[in-house]
């Protein structure tokens, strides 16, 4: 017997499940389909959450080592890798279980299985046990997310050659780990393995790690990682990856020529691509662009008027919090509200140590748009809080529109940048002006003061930075 539902959401990640929940709260009859036992998606099962759990572990190890310089010496920590993995899994289970409970509470019909669109109003679900069921819907939200991009010729087996999922499984700690790709996933996982004892090498084709990130931030992180990692190979290509008896032999090429090295494991992290195939989009009027993203409008509506798309499958930036916001918007649109996705900015955070976070326009983006800007940079060496943490490797950088004093962009590097950025997001969304920030009292001693003082620098009167240019 076919199920009839007002709304079906395909994919229960950080976009899909908030969409389903919001729609249910708005009184719609909702079916949520995902191949996992509970809602959560890559974010909760194999992404944001488990990686942050492991990065927390890495931080404890790093802090205990750092304590030496402050007069506290611990013995070298013993790592029980099984327990670490177990703890990480507990975190995942707790969160996904919680999401499953919330789905039940809201009477969302959760189906564990695989959904494929037959046409613009019908879907076939293949459940875990192989049984099939047809589902007729009024509206559909596609929230199928993304998956790691593969490099031709490098076969991920998640034994010796890993992708992010395999790396998070934490089967063992390799003596030597090669991370292919200097993006945020590679650097975060590299940091975890480095803290747990691996000698980590990062290889990147471009001339810097995090090639799309403001160099003012990436260079501070680069400096720190050079000390922790075995090496960071820039402008270097991977020519060949060969399975050997003991490990993986990798051949590189850079300006100096070819060279090779043997590693115990290799992590491939060269980006992610949208899951827009194998879900029957060809049976609908949904349009997919050349990069595989589903084309959507401001209300996240596809070319097929009752089908919507959100999250990674619907375009950059592929970030969980963007998907969640879109999920809520799309649910309200489907419930008949006249709303649209109208966020001024989607913040981005890289959870390395130091963390990097930014929102709004970067200096370069603002220049590319021919906006007359004024940039202020507050170095954390001038922050009392940063000094008490013995972490002055930070920077707060603000981009203002000169004429209106409006804040256009906020960027931070330093421990806790991921938490600090939210104030920047609020400022950018509110179209705050430099004086709105500089006149708001920030608690002392905190790292948030750097935000206030960077705004004071717009007027050339920061307390802890001596004016250099402003008359």
């Amino acid at each position: 017997m076919a199920i009839i539902t007002q709304l079906v959401v395909i994919g229960a990640g950080p976009g899909g499940y908030p969409a389903a929940f919001r729609a249910a709260d708005l009184g719609l009859d909702v079916t949520l389909i995902d191949h996992e036992k509970n809602p959560g998606g890559v974010c909760l099962y194999r992404g944001c959450i488990p990686s942050k759990a492991l990065l927390h572990v890495a931080n404890i190890i790093n802090e205990s080592e750092h304590a030496k310089e402050l007069g506290i010496t611990y013995t070298k920590p013993k790592v029980d890798i099984k327990r670490v993995a177990e703890w990480k899994n507990e975190v995942v289970t707790k969160l996904t279980g919680g999401a499953g409970f919330l789905a039940k509470q809201r009477k969302v019909n959760y189906i564990q299985g695989n959904g494929v669109l037959i046409d613009s109003n019908n879907l076939k679900v293949t459940k875990e046990d192989g049984s099939e069921e047809n589902l007729t819907f009024d509206n559909c939200v596609i929230a199928t997310g993304s998956r790691p991009t593969e490099i031709p010729g490098i076969k991920v087996d998640n034994k010796k050659i890993l992708n992010s999922k395999g790396a998070l499984d934490l089967e063992s700690i390799p003596k030597e780990l090669l991370v292919i790709g200097g993006g945020y996933i590679g650097l975060e996982m590299g940091s975890v393995y480095s803290a747990l004892g691996s000698a980590v090498t990062v290889v990147e084709m471009m001339d810097s790690i995090l090639s799309t990130v403001d160099k003012d931030f990436s260079k501070i992180l680069h400096k720190k990682l050079t000390k922790e990692f075995k090496e960071i190979l820039l402008n270097t290509k991977v020519l060949e990856v060969k399975n050997t008896k003991n490990g993986i032999k990798v051949q590189f090429e850079n300006n100096d020529g070819k060279f090779d090295h043997e590693y115990d494991k290799v992590l491939v992290s060269v980006g992610r691509k949208p899951n827009s195939e194998n879900i029957g989009l060809e049976n609908t009027k949904v349009v997919i662009n050349k990069r595989g993203f589903i084309e959507i409008d401001q209300q996240r509506r596809t070319n097929d008027t009752n089908i919507f798309a959100i999250g990674d499958v619907a375009g950059d930036p592929m970030l969980a919090h963007k998907a969640t916001h879109e999920g809520r918007v799309v649910a309200e649109v489907i419930a008949g509200e006249d709303v649209a996705y109208d966020a001024a900015t989607v913040p981005a955070v890289i959870f390395t140590d130091p963390e990097i976070a930014w929102c709004g326009l970067t200096e370069q983006e603002a220049k590319d748009k021919n906006i007359d800007i004024k940039v202020t940079k507050f170095p954390w060496g001038a922050s009392g809080r940063a000094i008490t943490l013995d972490r002055t490797d930070g920077l707060t950088k603000l981009v203002f529109e000169t004429e209106t004093e409006r804040i256009l962009g906020v960027g931070l590097v330093g421990p806790g940048a991921g938490e600090l950025i939210s104030e920047g997001v609020l400022a950018v969304e509110m179209a705050a002006r430099a004086s709105d920030i500089s006149l708001s009292i920030h608690p002392h001693p905190t790292l948030t003061e750097t935000f206030m003082e960077a705004a004071e620098m717009f007027f050339g009167n920061s307390t802890h930075v001596i004016r250099s240019r402003r008359k």
Binding site: N289, I296, D297, G315, D338, V339, D342, I371, E429
Partner: protein, 455 residues
């Protein structure tokens, strides 16, 4: 060498969209010959060449929006130099422009999508063809093409949401907070002004005035439909009439015996023809109405509800409806009270002709104080004309016909003309309207009355 530039087009108009180009480089051109057709917010018109000569360069393309004083073409004066026929007009000339725009769009988007680019190009093509720039489409019509090169308006998320709910493009709202930041108050004030003062906001935000009209159903459910974009004139007519409809209208009807007047008209027809005019009943009506307006000044007024004032106009400009293929135009005869009927007839013919040929200037379409709408040439008895805002009255004329009229104990065939006077009941009372209409009827029946009682 002489330049053709975009001349002053009238008060409040600083740009125009090119919708047609009639000449190409190498073409010989006579003074007053149309060079291009342009469209402004108020009207479409053709731009004549100021000199005789030969077009040496065209600097604009279809769809361009040009400003007053912008160079349109260069003309080599004289024109006696008969050069060989220029190469046939290449259609391609206009194409690169479209492609350029489309390319820009692609670059801005940075992720390419074949289908969407086509969509965009189609949109641009449509704009080029219709010569219109639909910047002002309402915000809730979401375009599948994202404008990623735009910094969002300086307003908080809740303010942006408010604007969206009110159906207002936040980018069109001027912010009054320091630094031009837009507050919720700005949005509300903007919305209030939009409703209160459509006349002034029509330019920046046309088409959004729709007081609680529910959305249309999907007609295609019941059969085949065709959608055609409204032209500028039609759209403006719709907007102006919707606005005018908010005036409390009353219509009074009466009939005038024009048997004698019509004979008089026929007798003078040739005179008017010699002068270059066509003596229909309309110029006579315009003359008589002009005279009546002097006697009844409240019919030649406007109401200002903002300041609670009645504005009496000491001049008489009589508007009249001209039916063109682009829609209805209402030009006017200025100072009709100071002109004789033959003058009015000549001017009427000239203005009607120029309106149909798109040669009328926007200024000639403004400033009417009263309107005469004559449907007599087509037919019908009585109709309720809608006041041409900001006038306060309009006279509708239907087809005259012979009717038996009881005179001195017997029925006589008399030529009777149906008249319908709609008026703004806020300023004109029913009795005043009846007196006005009676005066008109009497003046039509006994034109001498004007000499006795007219001013």
């Amino acid at each position: 060498m002489s330049d053709i530039t975009l001349p002053e087009l009238g008060e409040g108009i600083d740009e125009a969209t090119i919708i047609n180009i009639f000449v190409s480089p190498g073409d010989k051109i006579k003074k007053e010959q149309s060079v291009i057709e342009i469209e402004t917010d108020k009207a479409a018109l053709e731009l004549p060449s100021p000199v005789d000569g030969m077009i040496s360069e065209m600097l604009v393309s279809n769809g361009d929006v040009i400003k007053i004083g912008d160079l349109i073409a260069k003309v080599e004066e004289g024109g006696s130099t008969t050069k060989e026929k220029p190469a046939p007009k290449e259609k391609k000339k206009e194409r690169p422009k479209i492609e350029e725009i489309a390319e820009e769009v692609v670059e801005e988007k940075d992720e390419e999508s074949v289908k969407v680019d086509e969509h965009k190009e189609e949109e641009i093509l449509q704009k080029e063809m219709s010569g219109r720039d639909d910047k002002t489409e309402p915000d809730n019509v979401v375009s599948i093409v994202k404008d990623e090169n735009k910094v969002s308006a300086p307003a908080s998320p809740s303010t942006r949401k408010l604007a969206r709910e009110l159906g207002i493009d936040i980018n069109s709202i001027p912010g009054t907070d320091p630094g031009g930041r837009i507050s919720s108050e700005d949005v509300i004030n903007y919305a209030k002004n939009l409703i209160a003062n459509l006349e002034t906001t029509a330019d920046t935000h046309r088409g959004t005035y729709q007081p609680n009209i529910p959305a249309l159903p999907d007609f295609s459910k019941w059969g085949e439909i065709e959608k055609i974009k409204m032209g500028t004139v039609r759209r403006l007519t719709a907007e102006n009439l919707t606005m005018a409809w908010t005036i409390p209208h009353v219509t009074n009807h009466d009939r005038a015996d024009i048997t004698e007047l019509d004979q008089l008209r026929k007798m003078n027809k040739q005179k008017a023809k010699d002068a270059g005019g066509n003596l229909t009943i309309t110029p006579i009506l315009i003359k008589i109405v002009s005279s009546a307006l002097k006697v009844f000044p409240e019919f030649n007024a406007s109401i200002d509800m903002e300041s609670n004032e009645i504005i009496y106009k000491k001049f008489v400009n009589i508007g009249f409806a001209v039916d063109t293929e682009r829609g209805l135009y209402v030009p006017n005869i200025q100072n009709a009270d100071k002109k004789n009927i033959i003058d009015i007839a000549v001017e009427l013919s000239d203005i009607s002709e120029r309106t149909r040929n798109k040669k009328i200037t926007p200024d000639e379409l403004k400033g009417s104080t009263f309107t005469v709408s004559n449907l007599g040439g087509i037919g019908g008895t009585y109709f309720s004309p809608i006041i041409y805002y900001p006038d306060v009255a309009i006279l509708g004329v239907s087809k005259s016909s012979f009717e038996p009229v009881y005179i001195d104990g017997k029925f006589e065939p008399r030529l009777m003309m149906p008249l319908s006077l709609s008026y703004d009941h806020r300023i004109i009372d029913g009795a005043a309207a009846a007196r006005f209409l009676t005066w008109l009827v009497k003046a039509l029946e006994e034109p001498f009355q004007i000499l006795f009682e007219g001013k």
